[in-house]
Every structure is written in structure tokens, then in C-alpha cells.
């Protein structure tokens, strides 16, 4: 058996089990401590994964291990996805602990669910069989139904939960039906067999139809227009740490799957899916950037912003070059760090501003230099100001689009970059120059300061020294395309 390939997944599963049992049998241990222990353990697993490359070898970015009869692969992309899942979960867990504050009762359950979603993305990153894809994706999605509705006394949270549930379930149904059609066309659910059929000169109709349905389903996960309708509502209604998790892990999971599926399984049908991705990119850019202009809630704005960022990343996918796909991974790195910063600050101020009205951020610069600075760096990176990570990421996408000869899309992307700059700067303007609604100082504990400082340094470092991250992403994608 190749059970050792699942080491990191099993570690997370064990952590979940331990958490549940301790919480059940030792109710007197404060939930806070349990949650903190879980964070430390997860950090340990992350470190171990980074350190060892999970047994793939020293050059883990180029190596590959296959298990389960081709169902489960452990390669650069998979390990990258797992690490992304870890970091996203860690940030969301810390944000959740800061957010929970008074209603501490369900903290452990929330951490448990976050770990489950993390586990889902880890499996998804390795999945190269549609059955595993489906189960892993549902693990992520179903957990998010619960998380989004987890503020049970809050009507908006529950409303968002219902919307996410119905919309998400329909999207997974569409995706599943697509898988069934692909199975009908190829007689197998494995990526390898699919790739063989897709490489034929004229792929069967069923396969095309199946791919379209799956792209639609994935469009929901990525919040890509025209399948993004849920995003602003759910982002606004969900509890802030869950929104953070949604913006990072959920999107990361979608992109890792998209990259693997399109390059490995459907690499032979480029001409077919390329225009679809292009249209999705263009629409996402337009909806995401223009729709956000007159928003008054920062959380809702982040929903639109997330749609726009999906558009930018799809630009890289549509470029069908290693530079484009590597750029997507780089983009996700910067996006994760910047979002962790922005949502981290939002969780700190959530006590007095539950719906995150932008005007209530007025005077934040005077209330807490740290928080304002962290939010500033996060927003600037998201809007793509040099020398932060977001700038280089956007530059890479533009370059990939240019080399791919997609001038129209490039034009839309430039427009979107300018328009979205407007709404990010608007928040910053409020923060430093607005007429303050609240004036009392905010106290930020040292641990949070440390985390935010590290994140800000990360955003600057990834942007200022793109070399290592970019090389790594490129190596991963080259290895994937070369197989």
C-alpha cells in the first residue's frame, strides 16, 4: 500500500480526531487553549511538510509520486496546494480566535471545521481522479456551508449560509453531471484516461459537454463570472474569519484543481476551453472591478475584489503558457498574504463594526497605527502598487496575456486594475483622512502585531524579491506540463 503518501493528510485527520475527543472528554479545558494547541500542531505539520517535501525528495518541485492506481499524485503542485491550505487555515484559525471573543462556545467546532476544509483542499491538490476530486471538493464545500451559517443568531449569516448552500449545491450538481458525461465519453474517471481521449483530433461531444459543465461548477468555487453571483452576498454575510477563509482557501482549492485538470486531463483540448476561460476572465474583471465602485461595506467590497482577482488569475490560465500558470501560483501566494492582512485587521475591529462599513474605518490611522499600517499594506498589495507582491503578480499576468496575444483581455485587465485601484484607495482615504466615527484607541496584543508584521514583511519580500517564489512556481508548472 502507498499509505505513506497520505502522511500529511493523516496527520491533519489525527489532529481533528484528537481535538474532538479532548473537547468531548475534557470539557474543563478552556476552548481557547485547545484552539491554540491546534494552531501550534498545524504549524508543526506545516513546518514538517515544508522541511521534508513529504518524501517526494529534495527537488520536490519536480518530483512525483503516484498512489492509488493513479488516483492520488504527490508532485510539486500537490505539495504547493497543501502548503497553501495549511497557511490559509492557520491565518483563518488565528483570525477566528481573535474574532470569537465573547461567544467562545463553538470555537473548537469552528477550528475542527476549518481543519476539515484544509484536509479537503489537501486531498484536492493531489486528486487526479474525478471520484477523489468530487469527494475532496464536497468536503471543502459542505464544511463551508456550516461555517458561513455559523453565527446562528445572526440573520445575515444564516441568510448567507442558505444562499451559499443552494447555489453551491446546484453548482456541485452541475459539476457532477459533467463528470458523469466525461465518464460516459472515456469510460474512466481517471485523469490519465481522460487525457488520452481528449488528445484525439475530434474529442467526443459528450466530453466537451462534460468539460463545460465542470468549468461552470468550478466557476462557482473560483467566484468567476458569470458564475460568481453568490460571492458578494456570501462574503458580506459570513462571519469575517470565514470570509477570509472563503477568499483564500476556497479560491486556492479551485485554482489548484483548475490548473491540474486543464493541463493534465484536458491539455489536448486547449482550443476548446481557451475561449471559455478567456470569456470568464474578461467578465470577472469587469464585474469585479466595476461592481465594487459604489460599495459601502468593506466585506462586500472584498467579495467584488475577489471576483476581480479571479479574473486576473484566469488571465494567466488563459495564456496557456508555463509563464501564465506559474504566474497563477505566484499570484495566489501574494493574494493569500494580502488577504490575510486585510481580513486580520477586519477581525480586530469586528467588535464594534460587525458589517464592516467602510466609513467606520475613518480615523483608524489615529486609533491604531499598527492596524492601519497592516490594512494599508494589504490593500496596496491587492491593488497592485509596487513594490508589493500584488504588483509583480499583476505584472506577470499582463505579461503572460501579452505573450499569449490576448490584447482585448489585456486591455480589460488594465482597465480593471485602474478601476479597482479606485476602490482600494477609497478605503485608505477613509482610514487616514475621513471624519472619524469612533475615536477610542484600539489595543492590539503583541502576538497579533507579530503576525501582522510578519505578513506585511512577507508581502514586501514576495514583491521585492520575486526571484525564488517565481522560480519555484515556474518549476512546478514546467514539471506538471512536462509529464
Amino acid at each position: 500500500m502507498e499509505i505513506h503518501l497520505l502522511k500529511s493528510e493523516m496527520a491533519v485527520a489525527l489532529l481533528m480526531g484528537w481535538l474532538l475527543l479532548v473537547d468531548l472528554f475534557m470539557p474543563r479545558i478552556p476552548k481557547r487553549y485547545l484552539a491554540r494547541t491546534a494552531v501550534v500542531f498545524l504549524l508543526g505539520i506545516t513546518g514538517w511538510l515544508v522541511w521534508t517535501g513529504a518524501g517526494v525528495g529534495e527537488r520536490w518541485m519536480e518530483g512525483v509520486l503516484v498512489g492509488g492506481g493513479g488516483m492520488f499524485v504527490l508532485d510539486g503542485l500537490a505539495l504547493w496546494g497543501k502548503e497553501f491550505a495549511f497557511w490559509a487555515a492557520l491565518f483563518a484559525m488565528v483570525a477566528g480566535m481573535r474574532f470569537a471573543g465573547k461567544d467562545d462556545d463553538h470555537l473548537v467546532e469552528r477550528v475542527f471545521l476549518q481543519l476539515a476544509a484544509c484536509l479537503g483542499m489537501m486531498l484536492l491538490a493531489s486528486a487526479s481522479h474525478f471520484a477523489l476530486v468530487f469527494v475532496a471538493l464536497e468536503l471543502v464545500t459542505v464544511v463551508f456551508y456550516v461555517l458561513v451559517a455559523s453565527r446562528r443568531h445572526d440573520g445575515l449569516s444564516v441568510e448567507a449560509g442558505v444562499k451559499y448552500l443552494i447555489y453551491g449545491a446546484m453548482s456541485s450538481g452541475v459539476m457532477l453531471y459533467g463528470m458523469a458525461l466525461v465518464y460516459g465519453a472515456t469510460g474512466s474517471l481517471g485523469f490519465a484516461e481522460t487525457a488520452r481521449v481528449a488528445a484525439q483530433p475530434t474529442p467526443p461531444m459528450l466530453l466537451k459537454m462534460g468539460l463545460l459543465l465542470m468549468l461552470a461548477g468550478l466557476g462557482f468555487k473560483l467566484a468567476a463570472a458569470p458564475f460568481h453571483w453568490w460571492a458578494p452576498d456570501v462574503y458580506e454575510g459570513a462571519p469575517t474569519p470565514v470570509t477570509a477563509f472563503l477568499a483564500t482557501l476556497s479560491k486556492g482549492a479551485g485554482f489548484v484543481l483548475l490548473v491540474r485538470m486543464l493541463t493534465v486531463a484536458f491539455g489536448g483540448m486547449k482550443e476548446f476551453w481557451l475561449p471559455v476561460i478567456g470569456v470568464m476572465a474578461g467578465l470577472s474583471l469587469l464585474f469585479g472591478s466595476l461592481g465594487g465602485i459604489s460599495q459601502t461595506s468593506l466585506k462586500r467590497l472584498m467579495g467584488y475584489s475577489s471576483v476581480a482577482h479571479t479574473g486576473f488569475m484566469l488571465l494567466g490560465v488563459a495564456a496557456v503558457s508555463c509563464a501564465g500558470l506559474g504566474g497563477v501560483l505566484y499570484y495566489l501566494t501574494g493574494y493569500l498574504l494580502a488577504n490575510a492582512l486585510v481580513f486580520g485587521v477586519m477581525c480586530e475591529t469586528s467588535g464594534e463594526n460587525p458589517y464592516q462599513e467602510i466609513r467606520e474605518y475613518a480615523g483608524l490611522g489615529a486609533r491604531s497605527r499598527w492596524l492601519a499600517g497592516a490594512l494599508l499594506i494589504g490593500l496596496l498589495s491587492l491593488s497592485g502598487i509596487p513594490p508589493l507582491a500584488g504588483f509583480v503578480a499583476k505584472l506577470l499576468m499582463f505579461k503572460a496575456a501579452w505573450q499569449g496575444g490576448m490584447t482585448v483581455l489585456l486591455g480589460i485587465a488594465l482597465l480593471a486594475a485602474v478601476v479597482s485601484l479606485y476602490y482600494y484607495l477609497n478605503v485608505i482615504r477613509h482610514m487616514y483622512a475621513g471624519e472619524p466615527v469612533l475615536t477610542d484607541g484600539l489595543r492590539v496584543p503583541y502576538g497579533v502585531k507579530l503576525l501582522q508584521g510578519a505578513l506585511a514583511a512577507g508581502v514586501v519580500a514576495v514583491g521585492f524579491f520575486p526571484g525564488p517564489w517565481w522560480d519555484g512556481s515556474l518549476m512546478i508548472v514546467r514539471a506538471l506540463a512536462g509529464r
Binding site: Y167, S171, L212, F227, W229, D233, I293, V419, F465
Partner: protein, 619 residues
């Protein structure tokens, strides 16, 4: 490792002060000064090791297709000499500032900015390619802006800071375009690779096409724009006199010894490839000569002690630029070094005078300070004699080198240089006479007392250096002898005629000055005897007014047209139109998000149907 420490220690100091010590001014000043002194010691150690310093780790910063930008510290003789100047003078001025800024409310902020400046300046010195140099170039501009406007509550200071930033930006824009041209012509921005290329082309004897030649010429002039901005050359010189609104240590460090010299340093760094375009060098030489003469004339009629020194700085920078333009980068660097010592000395001594006089800056309200401030007087005297180029002091040797080159290359410029030399001695004597000689002409001058030791110590060290830096045992002059980049510049022969002229001129200037200003009254002797000339010079040939008029009236007609265009075409159709239509479009798209789940589901299904129809039925 050593080099990285020299570069990054000041940055660390800036970060530590900025983040944690803004409310602890004493500690902040100690941290900053301590860092500066440590850096100077490390720099000395690194220079001692010379070229055998282990090559610092190459640090690849950016790679975009052809463009590859590494951060590799450059550590040749040129960089070593400049590092010495920057760190050493910087350390002394930091120590001096401990005394000068002792009771200032913004002390911590001041030292944070000083550390930032040290970091950026060291970055320029160690930069190994144009892009890195440009980044630090801008950082230096920023810290200079912050320090000029340090007392931002004074309207003059804020204005001066803005002026400096704007004028510098003008030059930097040219510099940036020049860098882009370098990249597009040579496909690299790395100094070493460029050097190899230039040599190849010269030795290969390939005849350049006329088109390439004109491109190169344009490129050289654009790069010189950056120099003109930073080193205050005509016509971008207007910011430097105003920059004296900043604290005096800042004037000494940034606007006399280091930052303004960065332009000259950059010229020397890229000399190998300027040497390849002789026409550009000629332009540079003439601009330098004109600046030197113009500034020396202006200095004659200034009433503010710091402004006199500022014009003098400009004039000396003009000489250095002229030296480079005439094909003598080594003499220019030599003069840069000695000038850094004695001009920093003069500024610090002036600062000491100002502290003693409670910030009275008008020289006609001083007088008689010789007895009251003996140490300051001696230091000032040493600086003055060195600057005037009296034989035996450092200024003589270095100025001599530049003018010897001029004598060999271009007799007219030699004449200009001699005139500058005479004027320098003249106005410095005027300054000495007004400040130190005679009787006290104001209440403050009457009660002046010598400044504390922490301020005098740097003065003494700099005075010793000003006297001695020209002698070969200190090795400043020979530091660049084996620097490969300068080999192309032919060493000018020594002409006895020129030597005697140069040795005599300072004495003539001093004598003339002494005759004219021997008995100082409340007014300027020149203003009494030649009022028209005085007004012309005091008005600095009305450059500022000219710019103002250009800006105001020249724009007048244009602005009316542009205003109309702006209001009706740009604003209405352009900005408002675009922003309004964007807003409208945004709100339109927003309307899709009605909040109704079933509407969303219908959109989803519609999208799906259209997608399938488009991809499958239309094929």
C-alpha cells in the same frame, strides 16, 4: 558580509528608531550616531582589506526576459574612496548633531531621517548597475526632501523642501529616460558589462553610424540631467541655496559633502562610457564651468552665512563637473574628497557660529567673533584657506589637478577656473572679515560663547583633514591611480606657468577681499561702491525670478487655452465623462446582484445555457 553590514546597518537604525524610539529622543540619537560611527569603522576595515574583501553574495533582484538586475555591491577603488568620504564625514556630522540638535523637539525624527539618508547614499555608492543606483538615487532625494523640510512649521523650510524635490524630479526624469535608453541600446544596465562592451567597441575600431552616434549623444545628455539635478548645475541649481533652510548638520552632510557630490560620483562611475561620446563631455565641461563662475559671482553678494557657503558649494561642484567633462575624473574625485572635508568643516563651523548667536544668519549682524569663539575661528580659518586654494592645503592640490587638466585641454575653461579661484578667495575673505573681524555689531554677537565640546571635536578632526588631505602620505590622491575606468583619460602634463598662476591667484583674491572689507560697517562695501553690480549679484542674476516669470507669464497664454481645454474637453468629456460612465456601468452591473437567490440561479443557468450553445451548437 562587511559590505552588506555597511549598507544595511543605517537602514536597521532607521527602522528601529522609526518603529520603536520616536518617543525616546536621547536613545534614538545615540542609536543613530552609534550606527554611523560603527559603519565608518567597518568601512575603514573594508577599505583596509581593499579588493580582497570577500565578494559579497550576489543577490538577484529581478529577472525579466533579458533584463537581469542583481544587487552586487560594487567595490572598486572609486567605491572605496566614496565610501570613505560618506561614512567618515557622516559619522563626524552625526556626532556633531548630538550637540546641535540637543534640545530640538523632533530630535528622534531627525536622527531617523539621517540614518535613512546614510543608507540611501551608501546604496548609490555601492550600486553596480543603473537601476539599483536609480532606486537609491530616488531614496536620497526623498531623505533630502524630508531633511530640508525638517522644520516643516517654518513656511520657508516647507517651500524649500518642495522646491528641491520638484527640481530634482525634473532631473531624475531625464536620468530615468536615459537609463531606459541605455537598456534599449546596450541590452544591459550593469556597469561592468557596459564597461566590457565599451572597451570592445573602442578596441574593435567599429565605426559608429551617425544615427547611433546621435542616440548615444542624447542618452549621455539625459543621464547628465540627473547629475545636473542632484549636483545643482545650471540650470537646475535653484534648489540648493534654498535648501539651507534645513538644519545646519544636514546642510553640511547632504548639501555640501555627500548627496550633491553623488552626481559627480555618478559621472565618474559612468565615465568610461561617456568618454566614448566626446561631444557630451564637452557639453558637461562647459555646463560645469558656467555653473562654477556663476555661483562664485553670486556668492560675492550674499548676506546669509549659509547661502554664501551654498553658492560656494555649487561653484566647487561646477569645477568638479568641469574636471570630469575635460576628461579628468580622477582629479574630480580628488577634489570631491577634499571638498567634502573642508566644506563640511565650514558648514559645521558656521553651525557653531549660529548656535552661539542664537540662529542669527546675517553676516552683517555678526563681527568680532574671533576672540569669543577661538576654536571655531581656527577651524573656519583652516576651511577657508583650504577652500581658497592657498598653497600647502588640501584644496590647493585638488583644484590644481583639475585646472592643470583644463590648462592642457581648453584655455578658455582654464581662464574660467582661474577666475573662480580668485572669486572664491575673495568672497571667503569677505565672509571671514564680516564674521570674525572687527567689533560685534549686534547684541547676540556681543554675548556669544563657545559651543560644547561634542560639536568642536568633529570640527578639529575635519580641520586637520582639510589641511592634510592633499599630501600623498594620506593616499587620497593616489587612491584612484590604478582604477581601470580612468586609464583612458590622458594625464595632463604639469605646466610651470599654470602652477605659478594657480599659486598666486588665491593670494590675490585674499588681498583684494581684505582691502575691500577690512573695516566692516553694517553694510556691504560692494553695495556702496558698485550698487548696480551688487544688486545684480545679490539677485543671483535673477534666475529664480526668471523661472517664476516663465512659469507665471509663459504659462499665462498657454494656461488660458489649456484651461478651456481642460474644463470643457478633459474635465467634461474626459474625467467626468469617464468617471461618470464608469460609475454608471458599475451601478448597472451592481443591479445584477439583487440579493434574490433565485435570480442568481437563473443567471447561472442562463450563463450555462449560453455557454453550451456557444461552444457546442455553433460549431
Amino acid at each position: 558580509m562587511l559590505l552588506w553590514l555597511i549598507l544595511l546597518l543605517p537602514l536597521a537604525s532607521f527602522a528601529v528608531i522609526g518603529l520603536f524610539l520616536l518617543n525616546r529622543p536621547r536613545l534614538a540619537s545615540m542609536v543613530s550616531a552609534g550606527t554611523a560611527v560603527t559603519t565608518a569603522i567597518l568601512a575603514l576595515a573594508a577599505i583596509w582589506k581593499g579588493n580582497s574583501v570577500e565578494p559579497a553574495a550576489v543577490f538577484s533582484w529581478l529577472r525579466v526576459s533579458h533584463l537581469r538586475i542583481d544587487f552586487t555591491p560594487e567595490w572598486d577603488r572609486l567605491a572605496q574612496l566614496m565610501t570613505f568620504v560618506v561614512t567618515f564625514v557622516g559619522a563626524l556630522i552625526h556626532v556633531y548633531s548630538l550637540g546641535y540638535m540637543k534640545n530640538d523637539a523632533g530630535k528622534a525624527r531627525f536622527f531617523a531621517y539621517m540614518s535613512l539618508f546614510m543608507f540611501s547614499m551608501q546604496g548609490i555608492v555601492l550600486a553596480g548597475n543603473f537601476v539599483v543606483m536609480f532606486v537609491f538615487w530616488e531614496l536620497v532625494g526623498l531623505s533630502s526632501y524630508l531633511l530640508i523640510g525638517f522644520w516643516y512649521e517654518k513656511p520657508g523650510a516647507a517651500e524649500a523642501g518642495k522646491k528641491a524635490l520638484l527640481v530634482n524630479k525634473l532631473g531624475d526624469f531625464g536620468f530615468m529616460v536615459g537609463i531606459l535608453m541605455v537598456w534599449s541600446i546596450f541590452q544591459t544596465v550593469d556597469f561592468q558589462r557596459l564597461g566590457e562592451m565599451a572597451w570592445l567597441s573602442v578596441t574593435g575600431g567599429n565605426e559608429m553610424s551617425a544615427e547611433l552616434k546621435s542616440w548615444l549623444m542624447l542618452m549621455g545628455l539625459l543621464l547628465f540631467c540627473g547629475v545636473a539635478g542632484k549636483s545643482a548645475q545650471l540650470p537646475l541649481h535653484v534648489w540648493l541655496p534654498d535648501a539651507m533652510e534645513g538644519p545646519t548638520p544636514v546642510s553640511a552632510l547632504i548639501h555640501a559633502a555627500t548627496m550633491v557630490a553623488a552626481g559627480v560620483y555618478m559621472l565618474c562611475r559612468i565615465f568610461f562610457f561617456l568618454a566614448w561620446i566626446p561631444d557630451v563631455l564637452t557639453v558637461i565641461a562647459w555646463v560645469g564651468g558656467a555653473t562654477a563662475l556663476f555661483a562664485a559671482l553670486c556668492a560675492v553678494a550674499q548676506d546669509d552665512i549659509k547661502r554664501v557657503l551654498a553658492y560656494s558649494t555649487m561653484s566647487q561642484l561646477g569645477l568638479m563637473v568641469m574636471g570630469v567633462g575635460l576628461g579628468g575624473p580622477a582629479p574630480a574625485m580628488f577634489h570631491l574628497t577634499t571638498h567634502a572635508f573642508f566644506k563640511a568643516l565650514l558648514f559645521l563651523a558656521a553651525g557653531s557660529v549660529l548656535v552661539a548667536l542664537h540662529h542669527e544668519q546675517n553676516i552683517w549682524r555678526m563681527g568680532g567673533l574671533r576672540a569669543k569663539l577661538p576654536v571655531t575661528f581656527l577651524a573656519f580659518l583652516a576651511g577657508m584657506l583650504a577652500l581658497s586654494g592657498v598653497p600647502g592645503l588640501s584644496g590647493f592640490f585638488s583644484k590644481d589637478e583639475i585646472l592643470m587638466v583644463a590648462f592642457a585641454r581648453d584655455k578658455v575653461l582654464f581662464g574660467v577656473g582661474t577666475a573662480v579661484s580668485f572669486l572664491t578667495a575673495f568672497y571667503m575673505t569677505r565672509l571671514m572679515a564680516a564674521v570674525f573681524a572687527g567689533r560685534a555689531r549686534s547684541e547676540a554677537a556681543d554675548h556669544a560663547r563657545e559651543t560644547p565640546a561634542v560639536m568642536l571635536m568633529p570640527l578639529v578632526i575635519l580641520a586637520l583633514l582639510s589641511v592634510a588631505a592633499g599630501y600623498s602620505f594620506l593616499g587620497v590622491k593616489d587612491a584612484l591611480r590604478d582604477f581601470a575606468g580612468f586609464a583612458s583619460a590622458a594625464q595632463a602634463g604639469h605646466s610651470p606657468l599654470a602652477f605659478w598662476i594657480l599659486a598666486g591667484v588665491p593670494f590675490a583674491g585674499i588681498a583684494a577681499g581684505w582691502l575691500m572689507y577690512r573695516d566692516v560697517s553694517r553694510n556691504d562695501a560692494l553695495a556702496c561702491r558698485a550698487p548696480l553690480l551688487h544688486r545684480l549679484l545679490a539677485g543671483r542674476l535673477w534666475f529664480d525670478e526668471l523661472y517664476d516669470a516663465l512659469v507665471r507669464h509663459g504659462q499665462g497664454g498657454l494656461t488660458t487655452v489649456l484651461n478651456w481645454f481642460d474644463t470643457w474637453v478633459v474635465d467634461c468629456c474626459g474625467v467626468k465623462g469617464v468617471s461618470l460612465s464608469t460609475m454608471c456601468l458599475g451601478n448597472l452591473l451592481r443591479c445584477f446582484h439583487s440579493g434574490n437567490l433565485q435570480t442568481y440561479l437563473i443567471y447561472l443557468s442562463l450563463a450555462l445555457v449560453i455557454l453550451i450553445f456557444w461552444k457546442l451548437a455553433l460549431f
